[in-house]
């Protein structure tokens, strides 16, 4: 067959852009999360320090503007990734039986990623709503919140979900886009799990400071 005879299929770049945006919004949210973790961590240097940091974001208008901006990216990221989530029951059943059959770590981890993603969508929306509706952020208010009812449990679950989703997401982006190759796959996985552990540790310390 001649090269010129190749039939033109209805073609568009859209899927590529969607996939690319999924990765880019993901990386962006990861960077945000890391910054967020460090900012909240300022509580260990005392309430004053935390309040100062919060005040800076308040006075410059960054708190609400970045809040809204991030919410949009956050929802956008959800919409993009939702294209991959099995919503129909047949697909879910197939995935489940497949995961059980081959019992393969990376396949299970994908399920973890979907589930943590759903937790984040739900809890993240609540978290953003609660915080943005009660600006300015102060250490005292956060402490009150933390010591009230079941909020600690809420944040512990939220924290674990975010950390795992972030680590697994980065791993998946690396694999899919060829940054993680078969050569460095195991090593990259190890480093990303260390990152997840570190995140959980730092955030737990902050949580403890708010709780007591």
């Amino acid at each position: 067959m001649r090269a010129t005879n190749v039939r033109k299929i209805n073609f568009s770049n859209t899927v590529a852009y969607l996939d690319l945006s999924q990765a880019i919004t993901g990386i962006f949210l990861c960077l945000f999360m890391l910054t967020h973790t460090l900012l909240v961590f300022s509580i260990i240097f005392g309430e004053k320090c935390f309040n100062k940091v919060a005040l800076f974001f308040e006075s410059t208008g960054l708190a609400w503007s970045s809040g809204i901006f991030l919410t949009i990216i956050f929802l956008f990221h959800f919409l993009l990734t939702a294209r991959k989530i099995p919503f129909s029951f047949t697909e879910q059943a197939k995935f489940w039986s497949q995961a059980k059959m081959i019992n393969h770590q990376d396949t299970w981890l994908w399920l973890v990623q979907v589930l943590t993603g759903i937790v984040i969508l739900l809890f993240g929306s609540i978290h953003i709503w609660v915080i943005l509706n009660d600006l300015p952020i102060t250490a005292l208010k956060s402490k009150h919140l933390m010591q009230k009812g079941g909020w600690v449990y809420f944040y512990v679950l939220f924290l674990f979900s975010v950390a795992f989703h972030l680590g697994l997401g980065l791993y998946r982006i690396g694999v899919k886009w060829g940054f993680i190759t078969s050569q460095n796959r195991l090593k990259s996985k190890k480093y990303l799990f260390i990152l997840v552990g570190t995140l959980i540790m730092i955030d737990s310390i902050s949580l403890l400071f708010f709780y007591f």
């Binding site: 770049n13 590529a16 852009y17 081959i102 990376d106 396949t107 994908w110 998946r172």
Partner: protein, 249 residues
């Protein structure tokens, strides 16, 4: 004393209205170096002539004997029973049409796949039967050969949760094949033409990076690296298309 193996085999004959899908247990004494090719043939000869399964080369080069062995899609002829516990469960490959028991029709699937990819060398050159074959760097030939070793056994499709969930998904075997043609200088297709085949949700952008294909492929084809390479290449091309289109308008 040698072990007595308990081999549980999926039995179902779609042609026979009286047949119901079930697992049937057979017992077999293990011999030194026993592989599943011999084991199944012994069962068929000595115990149950109605047992259906496929074999051809018995040397891991034809891909006919792929089945799910204790949960993992593998080649039966390449699988030694001594690497397994006493109990071995055999199921047909999921995702393909069942012919009976352990036999599935991978052929039709691969035919359709290869037609979709137009998996042949596309060239403008008139074929001259008299001419000497064109030369190619040895290292390049080896690179192509590395990807061409795929035996179309279907294990990567059976292992891939994406392929199982979404039946139109091309799967690692197809994407690897495109990577092979991209390498081949005799194939004159442009990047854009490759993009039209795999730059979709059924192609490279549908792959979720679960890497079961990489971990399971019995020929150890470097699938992960081909998938990463293709996604990067196709992603960059899409961005280029965007910039180009911007410039033109």
């Amino acid at each position: 004393m040698s072990r007595i193996l308990e081999i549980n085999i999926f039995r179902y004959n779609p042609e026979d209205p009286a047949s119901v899908p079930r697992m049937q247990t057979y017992y077999l004494e293990e011999t030194p170096n026993l592989n599943l090719f011999i084991a199944l043939n012994r069962l068929k000869e000595e115990q149950d002539p109605s047992l259906m399964f496929d074999f051809c080369c018995r040397a891991a080069i034809c891909g006919a004997c792929a089945m799910v062995i204790n949960g993992k899609p593998q080649l039966a002829c390449k699988t030694k029973t001594k690497d397994f516990p006493n109990q071995i469960n055999l199921m047909p490959l999921p995702g393909f049409k069942l012919i009976g028991d352990l036999c599935v029709d991978t052929g039709s699937w691969f035919r359709i796949m290869n037609e979709k990819l137009e998996a042949w060398v596309h060239t403008n050159k008139e074929f001259d039967p008299e001419a000497e074959e064109e030369r190619m760097e040895n290292s390049l030939a080896e690179q192509i050969y590395e990807l061409d070793r795929c035996i179309e056994c279907g294990c990567c499709i059976a292992a891939c949760a994406t392929a199982q969930m979404r039946s139109g998904f091309l799967g690692a075997v197809a994407l690897n094949r495109i990577a092979r043609f991209i390498l081949d200088p005799r194939d004159k297709r442009s990047e854009q033409q490759y993009f039209e085949i795999i730059g979709t949700d059924q192609g490279i952008f549908g792959c979720m990076g679960l890497l079961a294909c990489e971990d399971i492929c019995p020929k150890n084809i470097p699938l992960q690296d081909q998938l990463g390479y293709l996604r990067k290449k196709m992603g960059v091309l899409a961005v280029k298309n965007y910039l180009f289109w911007k410039k033109r308008s």
